[in-house]
Amino acid sequence: MADTRQKYRKIPGRRRGFIVSASLWTGADHLLAVRSARFQEQYKRFYFRDIQAIVITEAPRFVLSMPLLAAAALLLTGVLIVRVLLPALDAWLWLLLAALTAVWIYISMAQSCTCRLYTAVSREDLPSLYRRWTARKALAELELRIAQVQGVFTEDWAEAVDVRALGPAEAASQPAAAGFRPAAARPRTWVSDIFLASLFADAGITLWLMRAPISWLADVSVALTVVQIASAIWIFVQRHRGILRIGMQRLAIVAMLFIGGMTYAQMVGDAVSAALAGKRGPIAARARPRSGIVRPIYSGGAALLAIAGFVLSFKPE
């Protein structure tokens, strides 16, 4: 497709989730709402001439964005490194971490908002505007652009607003469109059942292996990990097709991160053990956690994830 690129200018505010992100851009004559799901972007255009109202409401929003998570991970890593190298600073770093957490809670509770835009035929939540300061900046920019197209009120509109219908008539009694996907998704499918069953089984087998190391049972555990990865990928596909609810996809992501993290933790643990034992040469990479420390964490984590998935499967909409 020929790319006759329009010039878009970014409006303040962006929401970056682990998978989904949202942002607002202004074009020559319209506002472009972009929602990205990593592999695909969806667009909605709101022409400046059609925008009837914008409402920003102060509300608590506990949003865990990717930059925030990355900063938290970096900070925690720093804390762990400093804890080993400079133990005297340990308490101060934990204090700093606690203070930053308190700041985040304060901002989420007292400095957050929801933003909604109305046209004659739609009302749309703008997820990228969830902090008050960015919402105010965005509103100032949008007001200017809309005023250039529509002009400004010459008399008091608050009196007249009672007799006019804001937004679509049928929307008054319905919640605003929270996303682009229709809400016909199911809480569980046979793929998610397999995924959860394999997690449960893996947790049980790992627990059993702690008591009695049986080689064929360890192989079964490896096979279950492969099943988990395959079913997680299929859960993403089902979510993309709108069959499955987003909760199960999130659980699959967390499970994949957990399994991957455990694998690397095992590798690092092996390397440290080998270094302490004075061994040289390459460390054998293991597909499964086998050490005494990682195994109970893995078993407990897998069981918790499976229980969370079980709850999600039977949670009403």
């Binding site: 942002s23 409402v55 409401t57 400004v152 607003v161």
Partner: protein, 193 residues
């Protein structure tokens, strides 16, 4: 309906809206900043009026009883007021417009795009969590990045750094595997020797 509160959907009081600063919701107590624009007071447009064609007058292709007002700029069919689609300075008939011909010329009607650059990057990076999978994913990431290099990016992005990074990571992964296999082969040969 007057302006509703975002939290509880109850109408905000007029006296609150008149302040222009913040309207306090009497139901849930949330503070609302409301900006209303003149579009709210535009009169709704009525149905499109089409005139009946008189004897001997040119008639619409799809509505033979209606008078033609223009000809489609692509296929030349006569269209009535109802059927004429005025787009980018030309008149289109509904068939040509919906046939998607216009899509090759404009991005105004695009409502989604596949992000091949992000796909390539995710395929290159995500399997690092379970590194043995990179043997399979690295060539796939390289293929996706190079095969779709010239495809349009997002409507709002400018740079192809994701594709470039995906290629770099995929090449590193392929290089790592090649080195590992060569190392093992040489070691095995040395063992035999």
């Amino acid at each position: 309906m007057p302006v509703p509160c975002n939290r509880c959907n109850r109408p905000l009081p007029k006296w609150g809206l008149a302040t222009q600063h913040a309207a306090l919701c009497p139901e849930c107590g949330a503070r609302n900043i409301v900006r209303v624009f003149p579009a709210l007071f535009y009169a709704p447009s009525g149905p499109v009026a089409t005139e009946s064609a008189a004897e001997g007058e040119a008639a619409c292709f799809d509505h033979p009883g209606k008078r033609a007002v223009a000809a489609c700029s692509r296929c030349g069919r006569f269209v009535c007021q109802l059927c004429s689609v005025d787009f980018k300075g030309a008149v289109w008939c509904p068939s040509c417009f919906t046939a998607g011909e216009y899509q090759t010329k404009t991005v105004e009607f695009e409502n989604s795009r596949t992000l091949y650059d992000s796909t390539a990057l995710v395929v290159a990076v995500a399997p690092l969590l379970m590194w043995p999978f990179t043997a399979l994913s690295a060539p796939i990431a390289l293929f996706v990045a190079l095969r779709y290099w010239n495809r349009p990016l997002s409507l709002v992005r400018r740079w192809r750094w994701r594709s470039a990074l995906a290629v770099a990571i995929a090449l590193c992964e392929i290089g790592g595997w090649t080195w590992g296999i060569a190392y093992l082969l040489l070691k095995a040969r040395a063992g035999h020797g």
